[in-house]
Symmetry: C2
Subunit: 232 residues, 2 copies
């Protein structure tokens, strides 16, 4: 169901990536792809399938994960407006390495592979933007790997996950970092490489120690430095 969304007049216009391109390029961008609406819990792209589209997130949050055969899950990141999905795989002409799933109602622009490659080559600005977008994905993946490998304790892994999360969805209120937490304990576990129960236990402990506060799905990191120090 293509929607009538224009990149040129778009109000979202994330501070990064393709949204910041010169007007002329935005017109092209508008032309080569089509907007689509995705319901919550619907799948946008699936790991293992041929990478024939690039998706740009216009609205909503999207869960990006990788799965093992026996059903274990690794939550790689949560994509939001301005983020790009499937870029690396399209560039490498391989299959998607991750699965993307809408956490809430989402708006995305879908661009066929060939169109995108042509677009990317159309101007140095677009080319650079593309490279930078992949570089950002790379750093996120590296951060995941770091967390999983370098944190010795479960507390460290969870703390690092929460801090990363805060860095993305920062509604800075002075010292304390507050943000919406749409993930279940299960999902947080997949992000930190922990079991669901361990996440519950740790959050209980963090709350008792005054490190975090939770009200509904809002979460506040009260003592970021102390959380940071857990990640040894």
């Amino acid at each position: 169901m293509p929607a009538t969304h224009s990149c040129v007049t778009c109000a979202v216009r994330g501070p990064q990536c393709f949204c910041t391109l010169p007007a002329l390029d935005l017109l092209d961008l508008q032309a080569i792809g089509s907007s689509h609406h995705f319901e919550a819990h619907s799948t946008i792209l699936r790991e293992g399938f041929t990478a024939n589209h690039v998706y740009i997130v216009c609205k909503g949050r999207i869960k990006v994960s990788a799965a093992s055969e026996d059903g274990r899950l690794l939550l790689v990141r949560i994509a939001g407006p301005g983020d790009v999905l499937g870029l690396a795989s399209v560039l490498r002409a391989s299959n998607y390495k991750v699965t993307a799933e809408a956490l809430e109602a989402c708006e995305l622009k879908s661009i066929p592979r060939d169109n995108f490659l042509k677009f990317m080559r159309s101007s140095p600005d677009v080319g650079e933007n593309t490279a930078v977008a992949v570089a950002r994905e790379y750093e996120a993946a590296l951060l995941s790997a770091r967390r999983l490998a370098l944190s010795t304790s479960a507390a460290g892994k969870l703390a690092s996950t929460l801090l990363d999360w805060a860095r993305i969805d920062h509604t800075h209120n002075n010292e304390a970092l507050e943000f919406g937490m749409p993930l279940t304990h299960e999902e947080l576990g997949c992000m930190a490489g922990l079991s669901r129960e361990t996440v519950t236990r740790l959050l209980t402990r963090f709350r008792a120690e005054g490190l975090v506060r939770q009200q509904g799905d809002r979460m506040t990191l009260l003592k970021p430095e102390q959380l940071q120090s857990l990640y040894c």
Copy 2:
């Protein structure tokens, strides 16, 4: 100590990345950077430092790692001829996120940031090559994260590490995968997220079970499928 190595006449010319550019671009590439020699164990770039150079590996193998404050190490990958170092960080105008260290005597081409950015924008081919190079780095990082998060057992993590290794340095001999293994057990541990002793114990077990064979620093995976199945 700049060496007299030319990208145009280079005999190495990896099958990927910048080495495959049209002759005209190679001339540019030759002009904007300088070749350098690195002794074994010398550091090429260090995590945390401002990313002001891109390095292209011409000869030798390079250990790419990330460290935590308390000295734990994550070995991200081993770079070889044709690989690029520091690309993502240069693009993002941030600091290096990893440390690169020569495993043996190496030859690298070093390109100052500004020169590289100009070069990247000089032609669509170069731009595309750059994006693809970062995409490759991304997939490697993702693979690390996958391994660390999705393998439940230590055996699975090590098996997956060995298989990845074989995929890179493949001297295919029919079924069996043979390759040079310049890493110590300690380093393999850093790659798989395991302790040195666990690596020793597992390799002993793999040998006993006829899954792998070792002669000096050559390693052969005798039953890749069986190793694969450990990585559940």
